[in-house]
Symmetry: C2
Subunit: 294 residues, 2 copies
């Protein structure tokens, strides 16, 4: 495990622990299930990318905690809903029973709904976010678009509709940019917005890097789903092919998909070049993510 990533993970876990309602508070079962869905052994890739972006712009990481939490809560809610029987019907997530298996379907639906609301609450409420109210509104707007019908939720809808259909690379890219890329990008954009001193040019470069990283990450996920087994992944491996999901390995072949991920990674490296050494945490994190096997 990369120590920088580990540090970010511990940081966001502490913050999540504080924002999530206590399990002793009514409705207890709902709160217990929300904590179960979020505080499990996740990789926290999205929060880590938020923190590393903040470091690139010299932002105090306490200002990024709320943003990192909001992104992880949205990600966690989407996993809970995606795992439902009516969607991907998955029993395992992060090596543990999925939320609707550990609790029940109704609770899992409500968990997702409440986690989404909590994400927006944090962005509106967290006193540690030092950005001006107008910038905060910009952050909320960014997140709402990224997780809406033209972002993450839309990507999932297109993904479900594409099962069993033959897609071209352009269509596939659109789905993946919506489904995974939009949220990763939103987290990095919100983190850069929290740097009052960032220039429009810097914001643009980071946004470009974020877009490439988000897509590279999803392609590698698809590749690992083909290559990995259930034990390594902590979720049911090979499911994409079983469901005839549109994936990069299916459309381009495994080798070509890996090559595309590498190209996108290189694009991100180029976009980050003007930040010099300050982008070191972000480079290190991307290198680690691209070399992972789960």
């Amino acid at each position: 495990m990369n120590t920088r990533l580990q540090g970010y993970q511990q940081r966001v876990d502490r913050a999540l622990e504080q924002w999530l309602p206590a399990p002793e508070m009514a409705p207890e079962r709902l709160h217990e299930a929300m904590r179960y869905a979020v505080l499990g052994p996740g990789k926290r890739v999205r929060p880590a990318l938020c923190y590393a972006t903040g470091e690139t712009l010299g932002v105090d990481l306490a200002q990024v905690d709320g943003i990192a939490c909001a992104i992880e809560l949205i990600h966690a809610y989407s996993l809970v809903h995606d795992d439902l029987p009516a969607m991907d019907d998955d029993d395992l997530r992060r090596g543990l029973p999925t939320c609707h298996r550990a609790f029940d379907e109704a609770t899992a639906i409500l968990v997702g709904d409440a986690l989404q609301a909590l994400a927006f609450r944090i962005l509106a409420h967290d006193p540690a976010i030092a950005a001006s109210p107008a910038t905060r509104l910009h952050m909320i707007d960014t997140l709402a678009v990224a997780c809406g019908s033209r972002g993450m939720v839309g990507g999932q809808a297109l993904d479900l509709a594409a099962e069993g259909r033959q897609l071209g690379p352009a269509e596939l890219e659109f789905i993946h940019i919506c489904k995974t890329g939009a949220l990763i990008r939103a987290g990095m954009v919100m983190s850069s917005l929290s740097a009052d001193s960032a220039s429009p040019r810097q914001l643009e470069q980071l946004d470009h890097a974020a877009k490439s990283i988000g897509l590279a990450f999803q392609i590698l996920d698809d590749v690992l789903d083909v290559e990995g087994d259930t034990d390594t992944l902590g979720k049911t491996g090979g499911k994409d092919a079983d469901r005839r999901k549109p994936t990069y390995p299916a459309v381009l072949g495994l080798a070509e998909a890996r090559r595309l991920a590498t190209t996108l990674h290189e694009e991100a490296v180029t976009a980050l070049a003007p930040f010099g050494d300050r982008a070191a945490p972000l480079h290190e994190l991307c290198d680690f993510l691209m070399a992972r096997n789960k």
Copy 2:
């Protein structure tokens, strides 16, 4: 039909029509389903209460449109999720097939998720909301709490957990204040926040009225579910008793439940007294809502 309510309905329907993504835009089926879930023949009670609150404080109604839309989108999403087979398993809503019957379960889950995101997007983005960025953040915070695990979603969780159990009036009041009251109250609070000139005392009085109105409305809903038949209600009548849901008529008896609703209405009237004639739209709306038979 009350003409004032009709005016508010037309107003919010026009605004919703504009905020909802066009059905020709990808993902088409998701957008079509979002529009189906929202633009059906709903009563628009919550938006109407937002507008009437705005009028009580002399706010230009264009400033309330976004708030009214956000509240109705949250309400519509909650109905879509509540109707799912894993929750209340309802086939009819507003006289039409529920969203998961007209489309499918996966789409209905995603519709709810996207509608919630859209509600927050409008509050962060709508240029017609003239309130300061700081006040807007306060509105977003208010909505996020009202529809979260200690508000609407929490109320639904408690409601499901209470099926078949014997509850006391205090427990029942807590559920209903969360499940229905919180959102109605949030809409009225957000509308009063949009009046820059409102005093803390006025905000408090309106909040008090909102709390009473929200609970009275829910009690009357329970009463009508017992008294009404499916044709009049446009949803399956008598379902609460079939599912042994905790309701006011079940706990207090029909006559006592009606009496409690009347008492709460009177409390709201008292809280609105200091506003004199300016509260006339709100009085008229409440009178109409209390006299309804569906």
